[in-house]
């Protein structure tokens, strides 16, 4: 196992970097490709009690137990049936309690694109700041607008809130990747 790419901050400063784009409803979103662990097809999850609605449950990802978040529900979009082309993107977030892996359910993965940091425009501020602070910026890729997400803010904080982080991670699953 090489040094984990996650250690490198998903900085948008300087030069260009690669972004994985995916579709959710009518929008295209992008995340730093270095955060992506794997892409897998939809499979049934095990529900967890008392979880926020958008946390669907947990999956076995090669030995570690990984929570699955439905991004449609997170963004309060209309729900759709999970089908054979529904995709789970497994990513790493940095939380105050350290690195955590989680999967997001999206409609479909589109592409890996190069994004030049200079072309990233800040998201317009409308209404409350907190509603959009997980958006790193907007960028136009072949005539389409891609919303770049800050997954640490989007998910990391969610996880931290829903779990009441305690520093004591049980040893069993911590080392998988």
């Amino acid at each position: 196992m090489s040094t984990n790419p996650v250690e490198r901050q998903q900085g948008f400063g300087g030069g260009s970097h690669q972004v994985l784009t995916f579709v959710l409803g009518n929008e295209t979103y992008g995340v730093d490709i270095l955060r992506v662990q794997e892409i897998r097809g939809w499979s049934a999850v095990t529900k967890i009690p008392h979880a926020p609605v958008h946390v669907l449950g947990v999956l076995n990802l090669r030995g570690s137990i990984v929570p699955i978040v439905d991004l449609r529900m997170r963004f309060a979009l209309e729900r759709v049936e999970y089908t054979a082309i529904t995709v789970i993107i497994v990513m790493s977030v940095n939380t105050p309690a350290g690195r955590r892996d989680f999967g997001v359910v999206v409609d479909g993965v589109s592409d890996v694109v190069d994004v030049n940091s200079a072309e990233v425009k800040p998201a317009p501020e409308l209404g409350s700041r907190s509603a959009t602070d997980y958006i790193r910026g907007l960028v136009s890729v072949s005539e389409r607008m891609v919303v770049l997400l800050d997954i640490d803010r989007l998910i990391g904080r969610d996880l931290a809130l829903s779990t009441g982080i305690d520093g004591e991670e049980a040893p069993a699953a911590s080392a998988a990747a």
Partner: protein, 703 residues
């Protein structure tokens, strides 16, 4: 050439703590009067390496303290100072202080310098006392610069010059002292190897005003007889490697110190440094400032010295993370193998039999692999037991009791995680045994027992579990007093009679014991409920056997590992949950009439004369069940924290050992769930935590 030393801090702390444990153990074994040289060497080595390390890392307070300690130990080592009880107490206290200092430095917190300097003062007083006791050796330590009983001037035995000799050129760098090395000590060690000829080169010594007392300005040329093994010589300089120029060459006979003139053109006597020439007669102790009467003892123990003590038995240090990773991968393999086996059983055709044979082989190999990997995490329980000799000694002293501690089964291995958590409960039990169990010597003699009481710690494997036993030959539980207390507190009716197990149960009642803490109730006391809770959290149980006047025994049974649990799979709707077998009392089907409703919604069932609340898992976890009618499903009677409840589930599926996976690694804690596991088909099942479930359920009803 700056190296970031902080990267070595962790290793230094870890090694130092281990070394201190070794030092403590050696101190406890040390016989007053006739100390074993090897033990003293061990103790000395610990002090020395901590001193060296802390000086290197710039922990000056530790270095300074250990320096004083080392000076004292050196006196012990050379036999000029007898080992007394007071002295060994002092040394034990030094271990504590060093531990505290290391911890403080590790946590980047200030050192309790008052405590340190107090003890350092005591150490120095002890050293000073020694010199008073031996006026012959009154050479002040500071002035102990050595000059040789050296051939050219003094004329040592000419015979030695005929034989081959070692010539050692030892030229320390200035910072040698700051690195925690003491040339004086090294010379003494060399002197112990054989007849040592020393010539000092004081050429570099500046004028007194310019002398920095922390720098080393001297260099030496030394000669030793040829029969001394080269390794032994190199060992002396081992610690100074990199801090000095060192050359060791073998001279054939006939030419002892011919180069002396070049090496030390400045006559020693002419240097301003305080120098005292030792009489040539004491040639073999020439490097020994106080002409010690018993110099022979340290010598034989030297060659094998660095090996023992730190338990360097061909082991390697591996981070727990790596082992967990390995365990994880093996766990995955087990699941894959289970899937293949399931698949293989459906195959037909000419090669199906071969396939199944291969799969069977794979399964056996897998199991062995899993066991081996589990064993990597296992450590002998002596890691926990080793803290007791000191504790027992201190407590016995304080309480004026005579207590012998017997340890058996120290090599019994158990999982590191279990090991870390069993320490506190054991400390508690041992402390109770000493405090409340063992009587005073007078009372013991009056009862016809030997004045010295025994506390026995034993560990052994017992059918997939490990049993740890704390027993004593003290007075046992005083049932009348316990009963009286229980009656007074209304725990027991005034006319109820209780069996022994029921009485023993009382001491585990929360608050029962703590309330008695300050009284002289001989029943064991403080926080037995906490002990029991800790043991239960580890998935174990605690039993108590007591005989009045003969003593009592606490038997703790623990699982070998926390990584695996025996579980009962239950189905609720489409979900599967695992209930640990240890918390299940019984499973049963209810009749429609067996349920009582209290105030509308909370349901209770009658079970062996008790009424147990029913927890509907589907309600608590928000799952759609197959049936909501209690008599159509099953009720699992489970126990947690001393309370029993009925868990309503749809069905029981089967019993199996499951590997516990953390939910907290990527998600977080869920009330009522202790973890998750991966089933044979690769899906995830949650493992229930019965005490947590009870808490969660009572919070719901309260809300």
């Amino acid at each position: 050439m700056t190296v970031d030393l902080t990267q070595f801090h962790d290793a230094f702390f870890e090694e130092s703590f281990e070394a201190l444990d070794a030092m403590e153990a050696a101190l406890l074994k040390l016989d007053v009067g006739s100390p074993e040289p090897e033990l003293i060497n061990t103790i000395f080595r610990v002090a020395h390496s901590i001193k060296g390390g802390s000086a290197t890392f710039g922990f000056s307070e530790i270095a300074s303290f250990t320096h004083s300690l080392e000076t004292l130990l050196d006196e012990l080592r050379s036999g000029t100072m007898p080992v007394t009880v007071a002295l060994s107490d002092l040394l034990l206290k030094s271990v504590d202080v060093m531990r505290a200092m290391l911890r403080a430095v590790q946590a980047k917190q200030p050192i309790d310098s008052q405590r340190v300097s107090d003890l350092q003062f005591d150490l120095e007083v002890a050293i000073a006392h020694k010199s008073e006791a031996e006026p012959a050796a009154a050479t002040p330590a500071g002035a102990a610069w050595i000059v040789a009983a050296e051939s050219a001037a003094g004329g040592a035995a000419p015979a030695a010059q005929q034989a081959p000799r070692w010539r050692i050129r030892f030229h320390p760098y200035r910072e040698l002292l700051a690195r925690g090395n003491d040339p004086l000590r090294m010379l003494r060690e060399l002197a112990a190897l054989g007849e040592l000829a020393v010539r000092v080169d004081a050429q570099m010594l500046p004028a007194l005003a310019e002398v920095n007392p922390q720098d080393c300005y001297l260099a030496w040329s030394l000669e030793l007889p040829g029969e001394v093994p080269e390794d032994a010589i190199r060992q002396v300089f081992e610690w100074a490697e990199g801090d000095c120029d060192l050359s060791i060459e073998r001279l054939p006979g006939e030419q002892a110190l011919p180069a002396g003139a070049q090496d030390a053109p400045t006559p020693v006597q002419a240097t301003p440094a305080p120098v005292s020439a030792a009489p040539p007669a004491s040639a073999q102790h020439g490097a020994h400032p106080p002409p010690a009467p018993a110099p022979a003892s340290p010598a034989p123990a030297k060659p094998e010295a660095p090996v023992s003590a730190l338990g360097d038995s061909g082991s390697i240090r591996v981070s727990v993370e790596k082992i967990d990773e390995l365990m994880n991968t093996v766990g995955e393999l087990v699941i894959t193998q289970a899937m293949l086996s399931q698949l293989g059983s459906h195959f037909d055709g000419p090669d199906a039999e071969k396939l199944r044979a291969g799969l069977g082989q794979l399964e056996r190999n897998m199991r062995e692999l899993q066991e081996s990997v589990m064993r990597v995490r296992m450590l002998p329980i002596t890691f926990v037991f080793s803290r007791f000799p000191r504790m027992v000694r201190d407590l016995a002293q304080r309480l004026g009791k005579q207590i012998e501690l017997k340890l058996t089964g120290e090599q019994t291995e158990l999982d590191k995680t279990v090991l870390e958590k069993i320490g506190d409960p054991l400390v508690h039990l041992v402390r109770n045994s000493i405090d409340h169990g063992i009587e005073s010597p007078e009372a013991r003699i009056a009862a016809g027992k030997p004045a010295e009481g025994t506390v026995h710690l034993d560990a052994c494997h017992r059918g997939g579990n490990i049993a740890v036993e704390v027993s004593d030959d003290g007075g046992g539980l005083d049932r009348d007093r316990i009963l009286a207390k229980a009656r007074a507190r209304g725990l027991v009716g005034p006319n109820d009679t209780l069996t022994d197990p029921e009485i023993h149960e009382l001491i585990f009642v929360p608050g029962f014991s703590t309330a008695e803490k300050t009284t002289d109730l001989s029943g064991r006391g403080v926080g037995m409920d906490v002990v029991r809770r800790n043991v239960k959290e580890l998935g174990g149980k605690i039993e108590l056997k007591s005989e009045p006047g003969r003593g009592s025994r606490f038997i703790i049974t623990l699982p070998l590992t926390l990584a695996i649990v025996d579980g009962q799979s239950v189905a609720v709707g489409t979900e599967t949950y695992i209930v640990p077998l240890i918390s299940i009392v019984e499973s049963m089907q209810l009749k429609a009439t067996g349920i009582t409703r209290l105030s509308g919604h909370s349901e209770v069932l009658s079970f062996r004369g008790d009424y147990l609340p029913i927890i509907r898992l589907h309600e608590l976890f928000g799952v759609e069940p197959r049936s909501r009618a209690l008599h159509e499903g099953l009720v699992v009677v489970a126990e947690g924290d001393g309370r029993r409840v009925g868990l309503f589930v749809d069905d029981l599926l089967g019993q199996q050992q499951v590997v516990i996976k953390s939910l907290e690694a990527n998600y977080g804690h869920i009330e009522g769930v202790s973890g998750a596991t991966i089933l044979g088909d690769g899906s995830v099942a949650l493992i229930l935590d019965v005490p947590g479930l009870i808490r969660a359920a009572s919070m719901r009803t309260a809300a």
